[in-house]
């Protein structure tokens, strides 16, 4: 089984999926990410799916689960780089990933996380 590497950049964890994911690799990634979020105190997780050719209901559910787990561990998740054909297929499949934040690319994903973090600080100060 291939494992997907989790990279740390400042207080963001970055995962770039470059392989055709087997179900077990997906489950391993979920656990690895939860461990790393806690170990590093990361405030954001970015999952880059630029290289991913299809997202089926299993992988889609994994993205939603990772987002939910990270949120419980005080980190926001942004999925970046979804291909247009993947977006069209996901919606037709019936999976609109309502609970998952998305950004068009890595740069916008980082900007979104910074923006969210700023908003949280403002809320906390009020």
């Amino acid at each position: 089984m291939d494992r997907v590497p989790v990279l740390k950049l400042g207080d963001i964890l970055i995962v770039s999926i470059q392989i055709d994911l087997q179900d077990q690799s997906v489950l391993a990634l979920q656990e690895d990410l939860a461990d790393r979020v806690v170990a590093t105190g990361a405030r954001g997780v970015i999952i880059d799916i630029t290289a991913v050719e299809i997202v089926d209901s299993f992988i889609g559910r994994m993205l939603a689960t990772i987002a939910a787990i990270s949120r419980m561990l005080d980190a926001e998740t942004v999925v970046v780089g979804m291909r247009p054909a993947v977006a069209i297929t996901l919606v037709e499949l019936g999976l609109s990933l309502g609970g998952v934040r998305t950004a068009l690319n890595l740069e916008k994903g980082v900007a979104l996380l910074n923006h969210l973090d700023g908003a949280q600080i403002v809320t906390a100060a009020q």
Binding site: D23, E53, S57, I88
Partner: protein, 133 residues
């Protein structure tokens, strides 16, 4: 001329292989990128279903021609427990496997033709076709 390919579905790595073979065939047939993505996604759902619900099965990948257009036909067969209530199984959100219940209903939306034959104790045969535009 009709060409076809048969693959076993016995493990998670076979599901990945099925996706790759279906992608290659979809490119050969001349499906658009969006249609390739749809049919590969449907294949992934149906292959996983065969694995999860029937403990495995097989897929026949066939390039077909109706005289006007070329198409890709996939036949997933298994000798598992079969589906007792087919309309219920085709309902969005219905699942007995702990998933989202989108595998069958969602795959049906992603292809042009969808045929499901199943009876309790007699396994399941699902045939889907996607035509080139």
């Amino acid at each position: 001329m009709t060409t076809f390919d048969e693959l076993p579905i016995k493990s998670n790595s076979d599901v990945v292989l099925v996706r790759q073979h279906v992608r290659t065939a979809a490119v050969d047939v001349g499906l658009s990128l969006v249609d390739q993505t749809k049919v590969v996604t449907a294949a992934s759902e149906l292959a996983r279903n065969a694995l999860v619900y029937a403990g495995g099965g097989q897929v026949r990948i066939e390039i077909v021609n109706n005289g006007i257009r070329k198409g890709l036909r996939l036949a997933f067969s298994d000798t598992g427990p079969g589906i007792p209530d087919i309309p219920q199984a085709l309902t969005d959100g219905w699942t007995t496997g702990g998933g989202l219940g989108l595998g069958l209903s969602g795959s049906r939306r992603l292809v042009d033709e969808f045929d499901l034959q199943s009876a309790p104790g007699e396994g399941t045969l699902i045939t889907v076709t996607k035509w080139a535009r």
